[in-house]
Symmetry: C2
Subunit: 244 residues, 2 copies
């Protein structure tokens, strides 16, 4: 017998019910990400549950990154919701050491390469133009400020993830990017960190514009490899300085 044919009965599931109702509300009102949803007090009154129960439900959504709560202001939708969402919370035991950064980077290499390939397959002319725009901004920032800019660089890559047509790429890499962000400035004391990756941004774009998935994948792999090299260089330097 399929054990799935007899799911456990639900006697009480207050907060789940609250979330279900909230999904219905968001869809009924056609709320977009960024908009504010009703106050906890109003929700509690309307749904005939305690405010604490509402809060537990919202806490869960906050943990999933679906809403953001701002004291004194309200609760705001952060992502689109749908009745049949699947949640896949991953918790990775990792630290701030060299090994963790390297492992994270390997994941990013995998996803970056695939996203670039998919992007080259699926990009419309408008998409390609948008990526070109982000590339220009990034290159100008590079020349003006004499170095890689986290912000504009990140925008460029995000554009690629978005055009790939698969939101999971952006979600996963965004989570890792947050972890990386503090080191992105001057990781491990390497001054020109990221310089070597600069030219590959344009080559990736060119392969995408040429609708060449294999080429885009190859260039993305090269880009991440330069970052890995920078990281290794920094680690070696750190090891050396600790020996003195």
């Amino acid at each position: 017998m399929d054990q799935n044919s007899l799911p456990p009965i639900q006697t009480t599931a207050r907060d789940d019910a609250v979330l279900k109702a909230l999904v219905g509300f968001v869809r009924a009102e056609a709320l977009q990400p960024g908009e504010r949803l009703p106050t906890e007090r109003i929700l509690a009154e309307r749904l005939k549950v305690s405010r604490n129960t509402v809060r537990e439900a919202l806490t869960r959504w906050e943990g999933l990154g679906l809403v953001e709560r701002r004291q004194g202001s309200g609760t705001y939708l952060k992502a689109a919701v749908s009745p049949d969402m699947l949640h896949m919370p991953l918790t990775l035991a990792g630290g701030n050491d060299f090994t963790s950064l390297m492992q994270t980077l390997e994941i990013r290499r995998a996803l970056e390469a695939e996203a670039a390939a998919l992007c080259a397959e699926r990009a419309s002319q408008a998409d390609i133009a948008e990526i070109a725009r982000k590339l220009d901004i990034m290159e100008q920032a590079f020349r003006t400020r004499e170095g890689m800019s986290s912000e504009e660089d990140w925008e460029f890559h995000q554009a690629i993830y978005r055009v790939s047509g698969n939101p999971l790429f952006e979600q996963i890499i965004a989570a890792m990017h947050e972890l990386f962000h503090r080191f992105w400035e001057h990781p491990l004391g390497v001054r020109d960190f990221g310089h070597a990756s600069f030219p590959y941004h344009r080559t990736i774009y060119e392969r995408i514009a040429a609708r060449d998935p294999q080429g885009a994948r190859a260039e993305a792999l090269k880009l991440i490899s330069t970052v890995e090299d920078d990281l290794k260089r920094g680690a070696a330097k750190l090891k050396l300085s600790s020996q003195t």
Copy 2:
């Protein structure tokens, strides 16, 4: 001015502090997954916070799958915790439909290819022998039972992830695998689902044994492509049958 030089200050972070304290407690007591942690009332008293605050913190952990709460029994640890965990809650819109499966598969293709390449770089002779063993088991199961076996196939791939030296690969793919396990059996009614992927398991192994990262990556990409084709075939079939 670097906008990072003025980060937002943190005035209150009660529940975060609770979780931090809880991490310390778990490590101090060397609690293993499955063990019970103190009751909410005791935690509230010890930490000098309200029980509500404790509950909000535990709700977050429950959402992340770190603990399990059983009414009348207690709260139990479900996974190892560490001070510097990285949380990556993924949400895929749409549940069991074709699009979700496809998007998940694209992520898997990215990770599978990279894991195979890293595996080819780093595998020791013992590692290669282990993978060969898993491959033999899988191939025998295929011939005996006249079809792909989820179990043995999964074991083979897991072995590759493990040898890649990066635990993140296995963690991420395992989360997705668990989520879609029910569909891996006969997804969308395609009988011989996965048959086409069979020969590529051996070719991947051969490229790994030959220490050929590029080749291993290419073979892994081919393997996932066959699965994608199967999926598309199933979707087309479904669409056709729904039109009658």
